[in-house]
């Protein structure tokens, strides 16, 4: 590896907070970690970089006590330690923000946080502490809200605040920025830098190479379960980091001009909806049209009406008036999900497990869920060999890493499952495709593949609507972009005619309101 071996600068004399030596963990048939060395100093922000399957998650689970290594030693503040359980890890001062959130859905924010604190104060005092900490670090939270009503972004805030209240000495963050606005990422970085200045060590796992370069002091790169290099990210370019991580050039996504005849395929006309539950957001007279051969992006932090809009589009919720949603010129607002799909709608929901796929069913059965109309069923009977072939085709075309069409949906990593779900929807040749958070928690290679396939679809004349919190992504694949904030839609701009600073301001609700025509 070209990357130079680095001596930890400036803090040479202090014992490392955490040092892993020759950590090896083998699962039947897979070597998850092999001879991993990792040293984290006090007050250091240390990045762990790697593709899905590179062994990052296993390594973090070892540090957090969820998994025991087969070989190797763990040194905590200079002493050899066995981290036998998460409780033991927490006693040492290790806290973790999970990628798949470890939250209890039916409990409130405050209750979730109380469960992670060994000596939680009385509810009122705790709520006050949560509010104070959340304000202090710029992560506003309402302690009494039940978690099931929170958006993905808000849930992550709960996890981060929960960790902060534990006064950790080592904080592990697994892809913490994947759902944050640029401004919120800045706030988070301020928080993390402040924690580091206070002496907290941070292990920062991310695919976002620019962020790692901006934030992290040192990086350990994993590939195929082994350390493929150490480096100081600030001295590297995103390309050189990507080469270390995937052993190849960073895939580029670019929009090319296409000359598909442009006609509106999806039109929202004064789309209004009451809020879902007391903490949801009502939609106010949304106007939007998506033409064939274009990708329209809707930016905005989740919780601003995103879930209400997605339900209105997918048909999970029917609307007051049929013409509020028009597809291919026909009003479909009163139709359910199946009827809209039959007319050529494809839909990739935000929640992969539970909405996009049934966790306990295999990939073939999950294919059948939405693609049954594609000749997979005859006279009410399932054509099993056809279904398997169909699923295998998706697995091949989208390079889904799994044990074939028999693999259970829940056994796939987030990125692989997303590739499969996107593949399943694309395979049905939709006229209109709605995608929520296309690459959330997905590694660089898979994300590039998904974006490329979405652009292919656009070039074939499909109308795509992408709802995402990842602005970089929206700017790289969208023709036009709008912001959904507080249940209202901003003006729609060509991506070339705006920039992330303006969109960021709009995400805070500061956009000009266009004259909306009042229905007669």
């Amino acid at each position: 590896m070209r990357c130079q071996s680095l001596l930890p600068h400036a803090r040479m004399n202090s014992a490392p907070r955490l040092a892993l030596r020759d950590i090896t963990k083998t699962y039947p048939g897979v070597i998850a970690n092999e001879d991993i060395d990792l040293t984290v100093l006090p007050g250091e922000i240390h990045a762990v970089l790697g593709e899905n399957g590179a062994g990052k998650s296993t390594l973090m689970k070892i540090i957090y006590g969820l998994v025991q290594p087969d070989a190797g030693t763990v040194l905590w503040e200079g002493r050899e330690t066995r981290i036998a359980s998460p409780a033991a890890a927490r006693r040492l001062g290790i806290a973790m923000v999970f990628q798949h959130f470890a939250l209890f859905e039916t409990l409130s924010v405050a209750e979730n946080i109380a469960l992670a604190l060994p000596d939680a104060p009385a509810p009122a005092a705790l709520a006050e502490r949560i509010r104070a900490t959340a304000e202090d670090y710029g992560l506003p939270l309402e302690p009494q809200r039940p978690v099931h009503e929170l958006s993905v972004g808000e849930r992550q805030r709960v996890e981060i605040v929960r960790c902060l209240l534990q006064s950790p000495r080592l904080l592990i963050l697994d892809e913490p920025t994947s759902v944050l606005t640029p401004q919120a990422v800045e706030t988070l970085f301020t928080t993390l830098r402040r924690l580091a200045a206070e002496g907290v060590s941070l292990l920062y796992i991310s695919h976002k190479l620019d962020e790692i370069r901006a934030l992290c002091d040192r990086a350990t790169v994993l590939r195929g379960g082994r350390v493929s290099g150490h480096c100081r990210p600030a001295g590297e370019s995103a390309d050189s980091l990507a080469r270390m991580m995937i052993g190849a050039e960073l895939p580029q996504t670019r929009l090319s001009a296409n000359n598909v005849r442009r006609e509106p395929k999806l039109v929202l006309h004064n789309l209004s909806r009451p809020a879902d539950g007391p903490f949801g957001t009502a939609l106010h007279a949304l106007q939007l049209s998506v033409h064939s051969g274009e990708i329209v992006g809707i930016a905005g932090a989740s919780g601003n009406g995103q879930s209400e809009l997605l339900q209105a589009l997918s048909g999970e919720a029917t609307l007051a008036q049929a013409d509020m949603v028009q597809m291919l010129g026909a009003p479909v607002g009163r139709l359910g999900a199946a009827a809209r799909r039959a007319r050529g709608l494809g839909f990739v929901p935000e929640e992969r497990l539970g909405r996009g796929a049934v966790p306990a069913l295999d990939l073939a059965a999950n294919t059948l869920l939405t693609a049954a109309g594609d000749g997979l069923v005859r006279r009410g009977l399932i054509l099993r060999p056809t279904v398997r072939r169909y699923a295998r085709e998706i697995i091949k075309r989208f390079r889904v890493k799994c044990h074939g069409s028999h693999a259970l949906a829940r056994s796939l990593s987030g990125g692989n499952l997303q590739k499969f779900i996107v593949g399943r929807e694309i395979a049905q040749n939709p006229e209109v495709l709605i995608v929520a958070q296309p690459t959330w928690g997905v590694d660089v290679g898979s994300a590039a593949l998904i974006r490329e396939r979405l652009i292919d679809l656009r070039n074939r004349g499909v109308a795509l609507l992408v709802i995402s919190e990842d602005l970089d992504e929206l700017f790289s694949i969208c023709d036009r972009i709008a912001v959904l904030a507080g249940g209202r839609l901003s003006p729609l701009r060509h991506t070339s005619a705006t920039d992330s600073a303006e969109i960021g301001r709009w995400m805070a609700g500061l956009f000009p309101t266009e004259t909306t025509h009042v229905p007669a």
Partner: protein
């Protein structure tokens, strides 16, 4: 006024076994364990309490025997579902059937024996005496309500029922907590049985509980796992049971079979109406209810 007091008293009495058994099952289910064996545990508790009381053990010892027997039956259930990872529904049904048979077997020698019943405490002159079991059922309700929503232990219990693997990741002893919840449920069912056998109808007959264990199970679901709604449901059931007796006494020309069905029907209809609004059942149901969980899975 004086006409209504007996009706009120009998309503409270009819609701009491449902409150005991229902609260116990509610706590068990809140920990994510579905124990369908309530009817069996009630009967085992009832026959044990009756046997001890009628053999000269007295009411207190009899009640304790009922509680202990209910716990023993639930311990068997806990061993099977928590350690042998048996299917909770099948094991619970087996326990219900086992309890019916075992209680009939033990109770052979006691059929048609009669106990003296319980003398209540007189609180105020002119009011009927208070039955200690009825007072106890209200106390238990207050205790469960406080435990579930005010104490840290209750929060941990609800967390375990919601997601055992997350609770495990946070370092909570999931299996131990479920053991405790199952034993509490068994104790409550045993207590309900003891009340039926020594106080409500102080006489042993086979199948004494007459399906109350199943009604208690239904109440827990229709009450959307909330103690206060469970209490309301139990009193509704009690009230209609008593109205049915009075209806017969007044000579209403309704078949008695229909009248006997009425309490069950009314309870289910009203509680269904209550839980219809929103997604109450889906939201309040402990997410891991009935699922086998193992720390290494």
């Amino acid at each position: 006024m004086n006409d209504w007091l007996p009706i009120l008293a009998t309503t409270l009495a009819a609701a009491t076994p449902l409150i005991f058994a229902g609260l116990g099952e509610l706590v068990t289910e809140r920990a994510g364990v579905l124990n369908l064996g309530v009817e069996g545990m009630m009967l085992i508790g009832a026959v044990s309490a009756f046997a001890v009381a009628s053999s000269g053990g007295g009411l207190l010892l009899g009640t304790l025997a009922g509680i202990g027997a209910g716990m023993a039956a639930s311990a068997l259930f806990a061993l099977l579902v928590l350690h042998c990872l048996a299917n909770q529904m099948a094991t619970g049904l087996a326990l219900a059937l086992f309890g019916v048979g075992l209680s009939a077997f033990i109770g052979r020698d006691y059929v048609s024996h009669v106990l003296d019943g319980v003398s209540g405490y007189t609180l105020l002159d002119g009011l009927p005496p208070l039955d200690p079991f009825i007072v106890g059922s209200l106390g238990l309700f207050a205790l469960v309500q406080w435990f579930l929503y005010r104490s840290r232990g209750g929060l941990v219990l609800r967390a375990v029922g919601e997601s055992p693997s997350t609770a495990h990741a946070l370092g909570y002893p999931v299996r131990l907590i479920r053991w405790a919840a199952i034993l509490f449920g068994g104790a409550c069912s045993g207590l309900a049985g003891a009340y039926l056998a020594t106080d409500y109808t102080p006489m042993w007959v086979e199948g004494l509980s007459a399906g109350r264990g199943w009604i208690a199970l239904a109440l827990v679901v229709f009450a959307t796992w909330k103690p206060a709604r469970l209490l309301a449901g139990a009193y509704l059931f009690g009230g209609v049971t008593i109205l049915q007796f009075h209806g017969q006494a007044l000579g209403l020309a309704v078949p008695s079979q229909f009248m006997s069905m009425l309490p069950y029907l009314a309870t289910i209809v009203v509680l269904t109406l209550i839980s219809r609004r929103g997604h109450a059942i889906r939201l309040n149901a402990p997410a891991s209810l009935g699922q086998v969980w193992h720390p290494d899975s």
